[in-house]
Structure formats: C-alpha cells, structure tokens
C-alpha cells in the first residue's frame, strides 16, 4: 500500500483504500490546493478524459469534477446515460450490456465516474453492483461519485476538512451524525461514508437516529472494526440530545429507512413525520460543551434539517467543505489516472 499502488486504482467504497492511501491523497490535496491558490499551473492530466456517468442529478459533484479536470489540463465528459444505449438489465434485446459499455468506454477515456442512487435504482445495493461490474470490465479507474452505499469522494473531503479545521488533530474528537427530518427522503451514502472515514481516523463516532432509521448493518460493522483498529469508537444512539453531548462536529442529514424500496416514498414520509423535532438548531448547537461545528455535504434542507442560523454562523464549515470537494478530487484523479505505474 503505497503511492505506487494508487495508479489505476478504483475508488468505490471507503474501505477500498487504506488509511495510508487516504493520507497520501490528503498530502497531494494540500499540494494541489496550494498550487491553485498560488496560481501555479498544475496540468497533471493534460489531454486526458474523465467520463462522468450521471444517472442522478448533482450540483457540487458535477461541477467539482468537471472543474477539477479543467484545472488539471484535461476534460470531463458530462454523460447522461439516457443518451446512450446502456441498459442495466442484462438480457437480450434490452439495450447494451454494462460489460460492453464498460469495455468500450475504457478505450476512450482515462477514468470513469459514476453517480447512481436514490430513485434511479430498484433496490439497495444495486448501484454498488453496477459500479463493481464496471470495475470488473474497465481497466481504467472507476470513481464512485455517490452510490446507494458509499460516497468516498465526499468522505475524503470530510476528513480532509476536519483535519484542516481541527489542526490535523481529529483522533478522539466526537462526531455526531444525526438523522434530521426533511421531506426529501434521502439516501445513505453520505452518512455512511462519513461514519466510515471518521471511524478509520480514530474519531469517536455516534450515529443518532430514530429506531426506524438504523443504517446498513454491514457498514455499521465496518465502522466498529475500523474504530477498534484506529483507537476510536463507534456507536448508534436513538436519543438525539444525549448523543450530541460534548460533540466537536455534528453532521445533520435526512435519510430513509431500510424499507425505502419496498414501501415507497409516501409511506416513508409518514414514518418520518413522527420526528419533525429532529432538527439541528442554534439551541442544540449551544448545548454542546465545546464549539460544535457543522459539517454537512449539502444540499441542506434549510429550516428542516438545520436552521438557517447554524448553516450561516461562524461554526459552519459547509462552504469550505464544499470547496474541498474540488481539491480532494483533483488529488484522487491525479493519483489514479495520472500516477506513475
């Protein structure tokens, strides 16, 4: 596990890369961010192409990746899979198979990003399966731009931002990932990703949610394993206010229940309505002993997930965090698509 091994690598799940590899990515992020603010050109991927398959919409992910490629001297293609022949159903007559699409794409590009989640899949886990299939059939790096299970580019951004803001001293700090009410009924990838990366880096991680909202048990087990190896801790709590006690960082976010793809969105909305009081507010922010910083991957449902006040005050990191998507992804692209083989 070294710099050498990152060239050509996929990044689909947070657990695909080791702590040492994320450290390398953060070191390169520092270098590229420094070059950017010093206006030093850094065309590490000149003439190269990153193909972005956006099954689902996006603001930050699309812009940050496309801008990243421009700053690195290459180009990102924005591809709506509906404009291609691809079908996720693997049967005669249905459309082009993932295998054929992936094997053709690798001939035209130096890396493939895929965003597939929420309403674009039929069951939890399908997006991950599609990405694994792409990875199997593509020798160029496959980068997860948000799936049903994972969101490693966001996760690296989160841990990089926490290192920046907390003087690189995240070990032992408490982070609370709290469920928050919203009519948006959102997927699990961001919250699971933040839980995984925080556990990997030895933080004390608490996921606080109403009982119906327990996350993927396998991911939670991964968190426990990572935390125990890193000297951190991981727990799930169903009591919000006690969970928040002493937290340094809070990540409020809505997500759906494990039954989302069976029961549909209306039933989801009904269950969620019981918990409208689960909101991150100035009141709750003040209760925390230490400054309780706001980490949130955006978009944030203002007034529901979090009050405007806590999004905009000096304890909110959300915009610097959003910007760091650009810098960390430039490191990921540079190392996987441009690294020395």
């Amino acid at each position: 596990m070294s710099w050498f091994d990152l060239a050509g690598r996929d990044l689909i799940a947070e657990t695909d890369w080791t702590r040492e590899e994320y450290d390398i990515a953060m070191k390169v992020t520092d270098q590229l961010k420094g070059a950017y603010y010093s206006r030093i050109p850094h065309p590490t991927l000149e003439y190269k192409t990153f193909a972005m398959m956006f099954f689902a919409g996006s603001t930050r992910t699309r812009m940050s990746f496309e801008t990243a490629m421009t700053q690195l001297g290459g180009h990102a293609q924005f591809i709506d899979p509906q404009t291609t022949r691809l079908s996720l159903e693997d049967k005669p007559g249905a459309g082009e198979t993932v295998k054929d699409t992936a094997e053709a794409m690798e001939r035209y590009c130096d890396g493939v990003g895929i965003r597939l989640l929420d309403d674009k899949i039929r069951y939890y886990g399908e997006a991950d399966e599609v990405m694994q299939k792409f990875a199997k059939h593509c020798r160029v790096p496959i980068i997860n731009m948000a799936s049903d299970i994972n969101h490693p580019c966001q996760s690296l951004t989160d841990i990089y931002t926490m290192h920046e803001k907390l003087d690189a001293d995240v070990r032992g700090k408490k982070i609370v990932i709290m469920w928050a009410w919203s009519p948006w009924i959102r997927g699990w990838c961001s919250v699971q990703g933040t839980a995984l990366i925080s556990s990997l880096y030895g933080m004390n991680v608490v996921v606080a949610n109403p009982p119906e909202y327990d996350l993927d048990p396998r991911v939670m087990q991964d968190c426990r394993d990572l935390a125990s190896a890193s000297g951190g801790s991981f727990e799930v709590s169903h009591d919000l206010d006690s969970a928040l006690d002493g937290a340094t960082v809070v990540f409020p976010r809505n997500w759906f229940t494990k039954d989302r793809y069976e029961i549909g969105k209306e039933k989801e909305a009904e269950i969620a309505k019981q918990y409208v009081s689960w909101k991150y507010s100035a009141e709750r922010q003040k209760k925390l002993g230490n400054p309780g910083y706001l980490l949130q991957c955006m978009p944030v449902d203002r007034g529901n997930e979090a009050d405007a006040e806590v999004c905009d005050n000096r304890l909110s990191w959300i915009l610097d965090q959003a910007e760091n998507r650009l810098h960390t992804q430039k490191a990921i692209l540079t190392l996987t698509m441009g690294g020395r083989l």
Copy 2:
C-alpha cells in the same frame, strides 16, 4: 470607472457598465478578434471555468460562450439547472436555495452565466431578481446570458457591430427597433437592450410598435435619460412607416405585451394577429432614404418578422452580428474573469 474596475464585475443590466467601460470592452474585442483572425493564441483564461446555467434553450448564446472559453484556454460548463437540486422557490423542503447554490458554485468556477427568460419564469422581473440574488451570493462575476429585462452581451455586440459597419460613427444615426408579427411570442430583453445601448451611444432611437406593445416604462425612461446625456434622442412611435423614415439601422423583432404572464400565450397570439402587416420587407427597406441596414439578433422568423430577401441581401448584418457575439463575449470574459485585480 476604468480598466481596473472591470475585474470581478458582474454584467446583468446594460446600465451596470458605463460608456467608458463598454469602450474598453470594444477595444479588447478588437484585439481578440484580430488575434483570432491572425491565428495568434490568446489563452487569457487558461485552466479557468465559466459555469453556464441554461434555464432556457439557446443556439448562439451557448455556442458563442462555450467556443469563447475554449479559445481563451479555459472551459465552459453547460449546465441544465434541472440536473441540479436548485429551486427558485425559497422555502424549506423545496430544493436547494439560490443562496446555497450560488455560494457553492463560486467555489468551483471563475464566473457564472445565467440564461433565464420567457416560459421559464412566472412574472416579468423574476429572472432579474434571480440574477441579482446570484450576484449577491457569488463573488465571481455573474454574466447575464439573457433575462426578462436585459441582454447586455447582445447589446454590446449590437453596438460593436454598428461601430464596425458604420466606421465608428454611430452618433446621430437613426435606429428603429420595430415590433414585428410572429407566432413566437418573444421576450423583451433583446429589444430593450438594443434600445439602451443605442441611447447610451448617442443614436437617434425609435421604438415602433402597436399600442399594446409598449415596453417596460422604467427601461424606456433609462433610454430617455441615456439619450439626453449622450446627445442622442429616444422616442416611441405607434406608426411604423413614418418611424422607418430615414433610418440607417432597423431591428425588426416580435415581442409580447406587458400582460404576457397574466393572460397567457393564446390571448397573446390573438392580440398579435391584428398586426400581421408589421413585417420588415424589401419594400420597406427600399423606402428608407439611406441604406437601411438590418440588425437582428437571430433567430429571425423568416417570412413573418422579416422577409427572406432582407435577411439575405447585402444590407443584412445578421451573420457578422452573430459572429461578433463570440468576440465581444471573449472581451467580457477576459476583462471580468481574467482582468488584473
């Protein structure tokens, strides 16, 4: 008001920039057009990103901006806002706010272009409000790529083209902006923009339209004020043929009534039908004392707004005018996104 002040500046309304600033933009346009036709590379915005938000469709605006960024060494992102989370309704649960979207976008790009008009808005003035909100929350330049009220990139192109074609001698020349019948039911931005810029440059400006089609009174007042300061004149006429008398330049174009967003398109079509004779024809072109040149921002509804003959004869400027969008916008982008701060 100097070269120095243009770096980082927005361009939303024609009146945002002074006469001196448009003169600077035209000087830089000359330089960039010269470099282009001499095949001298001029990558003034290398590695930079211009984010184009196209709420409404476009041919010339999209291609000219995207080509401009390529020629300047950077990249323009073509963004359909429907692929983002943005909502123009500012309330909890509705989608991402303009504030959050704008504040995140400024982290990823060096300038933002917005095109929002016609069927994409709910009332006259809404597009301008959205652009002002973007400008408030974005420290990078906001460039209006056509709104309900203004179209400054087209306007600069128009005045630049008139300077080119009339030996830089536009002062005192008569320009008639005439309403023309078409089933297209189009917005006001282009005609108001041309009226404003022509008034700023001391032309004798006449807007000729049937009584139902008077334009925005505030914009018309701006025209009067600009004309009086520049030594030009501005008037509105409801009599087409006398208005055309002695004109050097004619801009025929359909537009809707002030009630467009209350009465809807069918009622609009009904009102318009009374004036099918309002068309720019070879007959009308010949009546003008001087050569009456055709200025039209395209698309032109051939056979309705203007006869094919006047679009294609030697008095038609429309294609050189279309091309100048590229050159003037390269100047705007270079000065606002690349200028020395």
Copy 3:
C-alpha cells in the same frame, strides 16, 4: 485528390472521398495512434471547436469524438438540438431554419458533426438531406456521425481495422454482412457503409439477408460499381449459410425493411420474427473455412444478433474496432479542420 484537398472538406457519404483520400486518412491514423501510445502530445487542433449535433443518442460516437478533440487540444461541444431553436421544417413560424442555424454555427466552430437517424426522421433520406443542407450553408467541414444512409466514420474505422488485423491485405478477402434478428429494428447506415468501403478496397462483399431486407438499391449499385473498379466483387444473397462459406470477416447486424417509415415498428417486428434463426453463433463461426473474424460496430444485441461466445472469443475484433473510432476520427478531424489550406 491529394492531402491538400482534404482541408475544409465534408464527409457525409462514403463516396465523398476517394480511395486515395482514405489511404491518407489511414496513414495519419497510424501516426496519431502511434503518438497516442507513445504518449507524445499531438495538439493539432488547439483552441478549436467541433460542434456535435446529436439528434439521436450514442455511446461510442459521442465519447470517441469528444475524447478525440480533447486529445487534439481542442474541445467538442455536445449539443442536443432540442436545446436550440432549430426546426427541420422549413416554414415561417416553425423555428430557426437549417440555413440560419448552419450559417450562424460556422461562425462559432471549426467543424460540425451531425448524428440524425432512426426515430428522429420521418422518411428514409431525410437525414442525408439535412446534412447536405448544412453542408451547403456551412463553409466549415460537416462530418456525418451517422445518418439514415451513411456512416463514413464507422466505415473508415472498419477498413482501417481490417487492414490492421489482416496485415494490410484485404483485397480479395470475403466479408459477409449478414442480417440478424433483434427486436431493436435498426437503421441501414452502418451496414451500407461497411459494404461501400469494403467494395472500394477490393474485397469480395456479400450482403446476406431475408428477401424483405434488401438495402437501398442506389447504395447497392454504388457497391457494384466500386467493386468492379477495385477488382473486388459485390453480391446480395438470401441464403445465409451458403453466403458465410469461406468468409474471412462477418458483420452480423439487425436492420429494418425499406418500408420502416410507412409501416411502423410493430409491423417491422412481426416481419422480423420469421427470421429469429438469423443469428451469428459459434456453430456458424466454426463452419467457415478460414478463421471467420467478427467485425461489429456495436452495440451488439447479445444473444440475438450474435451469441456472447462469438463476441468474446479471440476471433472477435469488436473492442479494437471500437477503439479505432477514436484514432480514425482524430485523423478525419485533423485533416479536415486542421489541414493546410
């Protein structure tokens, strides 16, 4: 007919270019492919723009052209004509005419690619008419990215791939273009294109199809004429298995009947169902005396047009063929948009 003549040239039909000109394009393809695999930069089209009008969806065509422009130092704009004002109906009030769109586009770009076929047209021949109209009104090169009749970029790729794989010795080799059953009901451009280019290069060309599926008589006559000039041969057969006898290359592909635009897709499906046994299988591949290589432009309907086995075994060229789209198109773009005038 020389290198000099290719600058500024259109490529709409296979017959637009001579054998000598395709030879030049293949020589340049060799050079650009060599430079690519040697990682030698080759920005032949720096700062230039190729405008891609995709009326119909695509995977390979879009990615290969967009990647080509990036590798050549320029940029390809991905344009969905629905986001423009263009109307293919040439009448007042319908939208912007092809003439105006084309004449404006030539001011913004250095070449135009058009993809228009299948469900996007109303009758066979319409797409070709539209491209001819664009060519008439555009002084920059018009490149056919697939029409109803022709697909010259694919055809050049096919003949280049056959030269690569058969040691540049294609003359006298037998190629069978076979109709194959699929519910996809596809257009004629690829099969007609491969027939034309193979005839031009002196191959023994057989088109094998059920009687209802005879192709465009004018194209078939062109094939006969080309074959007779090149020392090759051209014939149509309605007996699949005898047609395959002794073939070196087989191209299995579904296509519709000549009545497609009159009878609609359901009736087409009904006619096709009689011929489900028309499939390229391992069985059929083995029957050929020589190795029978698979040439197929993809997407392939696996299990219908061809069995997975023949797509994936060592006799299948399909992925190398797909990759060659990139290299041959870089040659076409370089010669037409960048060549010395």
